[in-house]
């Protein structure tokens, strides 16, 4: 490449050779502007490139914006044209109403024991997806722990002081209205959340929604009575223990169910009478597990975001 031009002009040749040597040594990239490189030029050359880069930043920004607007608008238009062609809304003859739905509805009650067909579908027919979903939640909370739990990378004296001030403020602050209302309403929230979790297979709701309600109750409790109070019964250790053991139970139960199902073995899990609270095989325990994981996770997010610890 560069060697071909070696014997054209002695001066230029020398220059090219220097560049080539510099490039071989990894001191200079090959495609930078064609300049002879001496030690000093190299530096100014670099800053010049950077300056150029900064000058064109605005232009590049503009091009990027215009391009993205064009892309987004064309996506919208394309999708609208697609929607025009799709099966009509609310029709009972569209392709999605097929044998799959038929079996879910007609035999769902008998095969899964769940009155709530959606619960039966996500926790029994398509349970692998739901297991993956719980794993996503677990992974997300672990990532938030990596990021937010205080360590030597994200700690600063300023922040420590802020948190200390906050705690001081919490102690002094006697927000009587909030405390009174919270004292009355938090048990109700817990009760409702537990009701939603336990009735997941009978009525709308289930582990995720119920868990989110319980988690919201915990957050309210923490806001009203202070973080320290929650810490008396809910620390990082309890948080890990509860969520990990629930997820392990989930994993083991579903593993057993998949294993027996796939190998056509007899499963020892009774289905119960549909409609009763103790029915529908694994769905109730799974809902409880998911509920506990979600409750811990929601509170965990709150605590990690505000205090950097649980």
């Amino acid at each position: 490449m560069n060697n071909t031009s070696q014997n054209t002009n002695p001066k230029e040749n020398n220059c090219t050779w220097k560049r080539f040597v510099a490039w071989v040594n990894g001191e200079e990239a090959l495609t930078l502007p064609k300049h002879c490189i001496s030690e000093k030029v190299e530096k100014s050359e670099k800053s010049k490139v950077r300056k150029n880069w900064e000058e064109t930043a605005e232009l590049r920004q503009k091009i990027y914006r215009i391009l993205s607007i064009v892309i987004c608008l064309s996506i919208i238009v394309m999708l609208l044209i697609t929607v025009k062609e799709l099966p009509p809304f609310g029709s009972s003859t569209n392709p999605a109403s097929n044998e799959v739905v038929e079996r879910y509805i007609e035999s769902g009650l008998e095969e899964t024991g769940a009155v709530n067909i959606v619960a039966g579908m996500i926790l029994d027919y398509r349970a692998f997806d739901t297991f993956g979903e719980s794993a996503v939640l677990f992974l997300a909370v672990m990532c938030v722990v990596i990021l937010m739990r205080r360590d030597s990378n994200n700690i600063s004296a300023e922040e420590d002081q802020e948190i200390a001030e906050d705690e001081e403020f919490e102690k002094e602050d006697s927000n009587i209205i909030l405390k009174q209302i919270a004292a009355f309403i938090v048990p109700l929230i817990f009760l409702f959340g537990i009701y939603v979790i336990l009735n997941g297979h009978l009525s709308p709701g289930g582990g995720f929604s119920g868990g989110a309600i319980v988690g919201a109750g915990l957050i309210l409790y923490s806001i009203a009575f202070g973080h320290e109070k929650v810490r008396t019964f809910f620390t990082f250790r309890t948080f890990t223990k509860i969520s990990v053991s629930c997820l392990l139970t989930y994993c083991a139960a579903k593993g057993y169910s998949f294993f027996t199902g796939a190998n056509h073995l007899h499963s020892i899990i009774p289905k119960g009478t549909p409609g009763n609270i103790l029915s529908s095989g694994l769905i109730l325990p799974l809902n409880i597990c998911v509920g506990m994981i979600v409750a811990c996770t929601m509170y965990g997010f709150y605590a990690l975001f505000t205090k950097g610890d649980i």
Partner: protein, 497 residues
């Protein structure tokens, strides 16, 4: 009742990886977490090897019912020679990468967060296995999200400002991709009414016969292909790679570049064959579009790499070029092209993971400075890393006897079967090989040139040396005994359709 152990292997592998990920928070010490992780990967690797031997001997693939309900009602896994080969490669490469880079991991990740790092690695491995084995597009979506979050979490594991900026960039682009993929899936469900790959394919055949929903179908193909190519960093969407690989610890860069990007491509190949069928893809001209982007990626990736003075960024751009190769192979639109692409997936996984780990060793002996000019003589200080880097570079350039050479030959051969694209393929292959040589050879010369000061040999880390030797052997094995691998890929790809 008789239990067929072989058929349970995909399920066991995924659940074992998940299980070890879930149990790791109980292990407070990072060292023990690492042992659990490597034991798990070993077991999965051995199981995949058993599965592999079995399916190649019978020459058949099978589906595995996840639960009590058969095909269109429950979830399903699918395994055949293709899946088993990929699972073995992924286990071997991830194990060697983590073993080779373990000192860097323990240096870079804070000691109280090392066990969390291994949770993420375990779940990432589980999700990659699930993407390889899944036979259901929605399961694919869920595990794509696990893959995304886990890979971002690995990028940020150093916990410094720079790595978090890289992570957020990586996250945003990945999320764009998964959003498009999800939209495509919803539309696909709407016109076919199924989520399981074989059932969707049957519905699509019916739609093709009746001629209904042609336009929505094209949009679906577009969205799914676009989403997955954004996630696998096809050329114009590659901007997140250099920062992320620069900021992450060497093993993580190796895993991300060698495996994570590939897992999306494997899912794409499975979707091409098991959902859309390759003929329909070909008739929709999707292959031509992929071909063009692949060719652009091959050239542009190398051109960007030439401009880099930092070694990890250079390797990142080289990955962009290699992803371009793979998409070019898919874009040829023939079985031969796809087989060449699959072989390149293997070759690149083995080579790039090694390159990133040994770069970690080389940077380590050059006062932690990663500009190529600071690495003069690094190979003399860490001999095994230098040899590994040289092998990797030669393989990437495409020197005979190395893995990279075989895939390039196969790309060239494959192009003979697609007349319109032959000239373009051959010319770009030649250009890209020259460009590869132009950026790899100088760095090899730089690390082997004698420094002015006295050479101090760094102590040899046994795990690092072991992993590098294994990688070198693997590279030669793929480069010399490629025939059986190609035959198995032919068998596997044939069984997919």
């Amino acid at each position: 009742m008789h239990v067929n152990f072989i058929h349970n292997i995909p399920f066991f592998s995924i659940f074992l990886a998940m299980f070890s990920g879930i149990i790791t928070p109980f292990i407070k010490n990072g060292k023990y977490a690492q042992r659990v992780n490597s034991a798990m990967i070993l077991i999965v690797g051995i199981m995949s090897a058993i599965l592999f031997l079995n399916v190649t001997a019978t020459g058949e693939s099978f589906t595995f019912m996840m639960g009590h309900f058969p095909a269109p009602w429950g979830n399903e896994l699918r395994a055949g020679p293709f899946e088993a080969l990929m699972a073995i490669t992924f286990s071997v490469v991830i194990w060697l990468t983590l073993a080779g880079g373990r000192t860097f991991i323990f240096e870079d990740v804070l000691s109280e967060k090392q066990n969390l790092f291994f949770i993420v690695v375990n779940l990432l491995f589980a999700s990659m296995l699930a993407l390889i084995y899944t036979n259901d597009v929605f399961t694919g979506y869920v595990f794509i999200e696990i893959n995304t979050i886990a890979s971002c979490a690995l990028v940020m594991s150093k916990g410094k400002g720079e790595s978090i900026v890289a992570t957020i960039h990586y996250l945003i682009i990945s999320l764009l991709g998964s959003g498009l993929f999800l939209m495509g899936l919803s539309l696909l469900y709407d016109i076919t009414g199924h989520l399981l790959m074989p059932s969707i394919q049957q519905s699509i055949f019916k739609l093709m016969q009746t001629g209904e929903y042609q336009l929505p179908f094209m949009v679906v193909v577009g969205f799914i292909v676009l989403g997955l190519s954004i996630k696998s960093a096809l050329f114009p969407f590659h901007s997140m790679l250099p920062g992320a690989y620069q900021a992450a610890t060497p093993s993580v860069s190796g895993i991300l570049s060698g495996l994570v990007l590939k897992s999306y491509i494997i899912l794409l190949i499975k979707i091409f064959y098991c959902v859309f069928s390759i003929d329909i893809i070909h008739s929709l001209k999707v292959t031509n579009v992929l071909f063009i982007f692949g060719v652009c990626g091959m050239v542009m990736g190398s051109v960007y790499a030439l401009r880099e003075v930092k070694i990890k960024r250079m390797l990142a751009y080289s990955s962009v070029a290699q992803i371009g190769y793979i998409f070019m192979g898919l874009g040829l639109g023939t079985h031969v092209g796809v087989i060449a692409a699959c072989f390149h997936i293997l070759a690149h996984a083995v080579t790039k993971a090694m390159l990133f780990v040994c770069t970690g060793g080389l940077v380590d002996v050059s006062d932690k400075k990663d500009q190529i000019r600071n690495m003069r003589g690094a190979a003399h200080k860490n001999l095994i890393a230098g040899i590994a880097f040289t092998v990797g570079a030669l393989s990437m350039v495409g020197v005979p006897l190395f893995a990279g050479f075989v895939s390039k030959i196969y790309f060239a051969t494959a192009s003979l079967y697609s007349p319109g694209k032959m000239a373009a393929t051959l010319i770009t292959l030649a250009i890209s090989m020259i460009l590869n040589a132009m950026y790899f050879i100088p760095s090899v010369i730089a690390i082997w040139s004698l420094p002015t000061e006295k050479i101090e040999r760094a102590p040899v880390e046994p795990w690092f040396a072991f992993s590098m030797i294994c990688f070198i052997v693997l590279n030669f094995a793929l480069g010399i005994f490629y025939k059986p691998v190609i035959r198995i890929l032919e068998l596997g790809i044939g069984l997919l359709s």
